[in-house]
């Protein structure tokens, strides 16, 4: 088909297609970041009871002072196995807001993006995305609380953040960027659809 025969695409439609492609790429990158953030080393805890007491802790409970590295999933699993009261509930909450919720959010946004791109009316997907957006900072807050809790441990316990925490944070930022871009696309697409 020659270019002369091809009808020119409306400007709004081209913009929409480009934006949707960007959103789709952001979502896929965010998913990769989320996977790495959940399973990679997230933090290393170097326990210490303080300079004066370390010698005694080493004497009687040497294992308590060994450095330990946790991933988000590993930490949740450790908490699930803990005998402390209420730890299963906290593990379930953490699992919900740091694993299920971000993955679900990405899935719904991808569904909405595909629906817009394919010309399917994305009522449910877009509505669900805007509902999920209200909770989009909860996963970040859970992470922050976790770090604060460990920073507040007594003694000279040190917490070293590892690369997975940055992968997780970048994943959340990318998903937020995708969400903003997706909501900007919606009016253009609605116009294009109404043209059809």
């Amino acid at each position: 088909m020659s270019t002369a025969d091809t009808p020119a695409k409306p400007k709004g439609k081209r913009m929409t297609a480009t934006r949707l492609a960007i959103v789709a790429n952001l979502l896929m990158l965010s998913a990769i970041g989320l996977g790495l953030g959940l399973i990679g080393p997230c933090m290393t805890i170097i326990p210490s009871a303080g300079e004066d007491l370390d010698v005694w802790v080493r004497l009687f409970e040497p294992d308590d002072l060994e450095p330990r590295t946790y991933s988000i999933l590993g930490g949740i699993d450790t908490m699930r196995h803990s005998t402390e009261r209420g730890s299963t509930l906290v593990a379930a909450l953490l699992f919900g807001f740091s694993v299920i919720f971000p993955a679900l959010k990405l899935g719904v946004m991808a569904w909405g993006t595909a629906a817009l791109r394919l010309g399917v009316r994305p009522h449910a997907a877009v509505k669900l995305t805007s509902h999920l957006g209200k909770f989009s900072m909860l996963d970040v807050m859970v992470l922050g609380l976790l770090v604060l809790a460990i920073k507040g441990l007594p003694g000279d316990t040190e917490l070293h953040l590892r690369w997975a925490i940055w992968a997780f944070a970048i994943s959340i930022l990318l998903s937020m960027a995708a969400s903003i871009a997706l909501h900007k696309v919606r009016p253009y697409r609605a116009e294009v659809m109404s043209d059809q």
Binding site: A31, I39, D63, E66, R68, G74, A103, L118, V120
Partner: protein
């Protein structure tokens, strides 16, 4: 997208309905990020290098750092030598029972002889085939007042072994016996002679066959450099007994 078939069909009763195939594709695309998350996790578990300090699912608290490979003692240096574990065979040499009076397990005791002199004789572990000794003993009644004054000398608590100097041509002899009740003497369990130069730093497990003159099944020896810093010394000595 510009084909005629892409345009939603208009129905008489409501808004145009999208083709079913497109809705299915939208759903499938929605599953893609979830599949990516699961795939990345599976790939990481399959190919990522092991981190010895990393907590793994099912092992609360994570694994501890692996111990370094054992090294032989350095000639000319002084070492604490401790026996942490002695396990005996169920019958004493000559296929005799241990305690003839009541048939109970032996009361294990040992001594360490270096350079022709017995440097240490242990406490007795009664009625057991496996005797465990801790290298460090602390009398709490003595320790607490000293702690209040802030001057507890930890080296004084290392009183469960012998101090030897590592030389090329000398041996360390471990005599093990069953201590019989007062006045009845002792039943030899066996004797182990080790070249001092062959001792390994850290814990070392030696196993032996049962013979007419030996009923020692296993000995765990701890060897620690006396010159190392106190904290390292405590770490070395407070490692649990080997299984």
């Amino acid at each position: 997208m510009n084909d005629r078939t892409d345009i939603p069909e208009t129905t008489a009763t409501g808004p145009p309905k999208p083709p079913k195939g497109k809705r299915a594709w939208a759903w499938l695309f929605g599953l893609l990020p979830v599949a990516l998350v699961v795939g990345v996790i599976a790939g990481y578990l399959a190919w990522a290098p092991d981190d010895p300090t990393e907590s793994t699912p099912g092992t609360p608290g994570g694994e501890t750092i692996a111990n370094p490979a054992p090294m032989t003692v350095q000639l000319g240096r002084d070492y604490y030598v401790f026996i942490k574990t002695i396990e005996l065979y169920p019958r004493q040499p000559g296929d005799k029972t241990w305690d003839k009076l009541d048939g109970s397990a032996p009361d294990i005791r040992y001594s360490l002889t270096w350079n022709g002199h017995t440097g240490y004789t242990s406490d007795t572990r009664t009625d057991t085939l496996i005797g465990l000794w801790d290298p460090i003993t602390l009398d709490v009644a003595d320790a607490l007042p000293m702690l209040g004054e802030g001057k507890l000398e930890l080296r004084s608590t290392l009183n469960q072994g012998a101090i030897i100097n590592a030389t090329d041509d000398q041996t360390l002899t471990i005599d093990v016996w069953d201590e019989d009740p007062a006045g009845l003497g002792k039943d030899e369990a066996g004797q182990v002679v080790i070249n001092v130069a062959d001792l390994l730093q850290g814990d070392q497990t030696l196993t032996f066959e049962e013979t007419d003159t030996n009923a020692i099944k296993r000995i765990v020896i701890g060897t620690t450099d006396t010159a190392q810093p106190l904290q390292s010394l405590i770490e070395a000595l407070s490692s649990p007994n080997s299984p």
